[in-house]
């Protein structure tokens, strides 16, 4: 897994992403927005930013390739010619993707702590302020709490991303083509986020709302909403995992 080029391409992309705050600093957009940012909160800002775009994209590309790419190359069947069940194989793929995701997140976390501190200074507390908030309305935590919250947020994000990964796995098994799978998945993300904007009542029940889990817990601090989102995300994960198993069990492996 770590010998593929893909993972290094993604690390490079994350590296570039992590330079965005410094770019904004240079351009003055952060001052313009009047938002306080420091080294302690940069990772949290970065996660908020990445969770809706680049991280789901990782999942789409990795998962589509791991299922469809390997299927067409003929390597997907290899474990199945040994005492490994199809259910186990899919579980192993889910674990593999979690490990990759974890590595990328840790890489990004360290990078944004280092770069954030280098550019904005460490600061004296954790302040998370959204563009439309005044400094009084901002979410604040002490430094040590802030670190714990940041680490928890990164870890917690693996969960909704994995549930989303199960959806991609399902689509990949359905369409047998990484191109089609990626296209449909990206289209779906865009469609669902627009849908969530238009019909707000529906938002908690969309799979992509799970990406906001950590935000709901640590910024909105709405425990009920968090619980609902957690359950919805879990259900999506389970349903698409079982769906994937069903598709895979009945699939004729032709390559």
């Amino acid at each position: 897994m770590f010998k593929t080029k893909k993972i290094y391409v993604f690390m490079l992309v994350i590296l570039l992403y992590n330079f965005l705050p410094s770019l904004e600093q240079v351009m003055g957009t952060i001052d313009e927005a009047g938002v306080v940012i420091n080294g302690q909160t940069t990772p949290f800002y970065m996660l908020n930013f990445m969770i809706t775009n680049i991280l789901p994209l990782f999942i789409i590309i990795f998962m589509a390739d791991m299922i469809t790419g390997e299927y067409v190359q003929g390597t997907l069947k290899l474990p199945l010619l040994h005492p490994v069940s199809r259910t186990k194989l899919l579980a192993a793929k889910a674990i593999a993707i979690s490990i990759v995701l974890l590595s990328l997140l840790v890489f990004s976390l360290i990078l944004s702590y280092v770069l954030g501190t280098a550019i904005f200074g460490w600061g004296d507390q954790f302040i998370y302020q959204e563009a439309d908030q005044t400094i009084q309305e901002a979410t604040t935590y002490s430094t040590s709490q802030g670190i714990i919250i940041t680490l928890s947020s990164y870890l917690l994000s693996i969960y909704p991303l994995l549930a989303f990964g199960m959806l991609i796995m399902f689509l990949a098994l359905l369409f047998n083509s990484s191109g089609v799978t990626a296209g449909i998945s990206i289209g779906l993300i865009i469609f669902l986020s627009i849908l969530g904007e238009v019909i707000e009542a529906i938002r908690p029940y969309l799979i992509i709302n799970g990406f906001a889990l950590f935000n709901i817990l640590f910024v909105e601090r709405d425990i009920n909403y968090f619980t609902i989102t957690l359950i919805v995300t879990t259900l999506y994960g389970i349903i698409f995992y079982l769906g994937s198993i069903y598709l895979f069990q009945n699939k004729d492996l032709q390559y």
């Binding site: 003929g74 069947k77 290899l78 199945l80 010619l81 040994h82 005492p83 004729d252 492996l253």
Partner: protein
């Protein structure tokens, strides 16, 4: 192995998109066989291997490997099986060694020593650390065989193992198979569209045409059917013909430039020689002709053979 059949296949059928690709295929492979599964391209060989190995669901039929039904106890059935389905596939960006390690990890009892051992068997030891994308087709085929041997299987399935190789590569692979069959007592199930491969390599054969088994027997029996063929080289064709035409056990006489090619009932050749000699027919040569599998194959499949 208590069960003398390593592989039992009964009434296998498969339809793709309303096209019956495999119909009612049955055969048995005994321990120690090198079983040839012979058929032209598109006959259904790969599909049947995939069905046996559980990659494709069966529409109907039963497959037992080492006595275990693949539907009831797949893990036991597949445990002592090695296989290459179509061209062997690898993670190109990994070394040959790493590719094998991945498979070794799926079993609890394959040691690093065993990995080195199989590299030695297929003579790839000095390339083990190189990435697979730098391998030639012949090397990939050998690496595939090495991978298939990892779990010390008692039966190995090879799907057209010499397809696409140069003559030297073909010879190497065939020698390797023969050697493994003899030394390690591995039963082989080999598909091929090449007749001479079956003649050279296999002791038993099933012939597949359009998804149906049209003949199956030991290679020896198939080649020595009821008929024998003898070339008679003579300078007295007229005299010889009169005799041949009145001989009961001769079923067919073809005239040729040197004399005749006759087909006769099995085990009558010595009688024919005696009769020719006692009638004072001048003979230059008598050449017994083996019926080749090729002729047989043509006869059975109606001649649409792929070389």
């Amino acid at each position: 192995m208590t069960n003398k059949y390593v592989l039992e296949v009964a009434n296998l059928s498969k339809t793709f998109d309303q096209k019956k690709v495999v119909s009612n295929v049955s055969f048995k492979v005994r321990a120690g066989d090198i079983f040839g599964f012979l058929g032209p391209n598109g006959a259904g060989k790969t599909t049947i291997i995939r069905m046996i190995l559980g990659l494709i669901n069966l529409d109907s039929g039963i497959v037992k490997i080492n006595g275990y039904d693949i539907k009831e106890d797949f893990n036991s059935a597949i445990k002592n099986v090695g296989s290459i389905v179509e061209t062997p596939s690898f993670y190109d960006y990994l070394s040959g060694y790493d590719n094998l390690t991945q498979i070794a990890n799926l079993h609890s009892d394959i040691s690093a020593t065993r990995i080195n051992e199989v590299f030695k068997i297929v003579d790839l030891k000095n390339r083990a650390k190189d990435k697979v994308k730098t391998y030639s087709l012949g090397m990939k085929q050998r690496l595939g065989i090495a991978r298939a041997l990892l779990n010390k299987p008692n039966v190995v399935f090879l799907d057209e193992p010499t397809n696409g190789l140069d003559p030297q590569g073909m010879i190497e692979i065939r020698n390797l198979i023969t050697q493994l069959a003899n030394k390690e007592e591995i039963t082989f199930f080999i598909t091929t569209h090449m007749l001479h491969e079956v003649e050279q390599l296999c002791n038993r054969v099933a012939i597949l045409k359009e998804g149906t088994v049209i003949a199956q027997d030991s290679v020896k029996n198939l080649l020595n059917k009821e008929q024998e063929i003898i070339e008679i080289h003579t300078s007295q064709p007229k005299k010889a013909r009169r005799l041949l035409e009145t001989t009961k056990y001769i079923t067919k006489i073809n005239t040729s430039s040197f004399g005749f090619i006759v087909e006769l009932d099995k085990d009558h050749s010595s009688k024919l020689i005696k009769s020719l000699v006692s009638n004072n027919i001048k003979l230059d040569y008598l050449i017994p002709k083996k019926q080749s599998l090729e002729q047989l194959f043509f006869a059975l499949t109606g001649g649409n053979q792929n070389p």
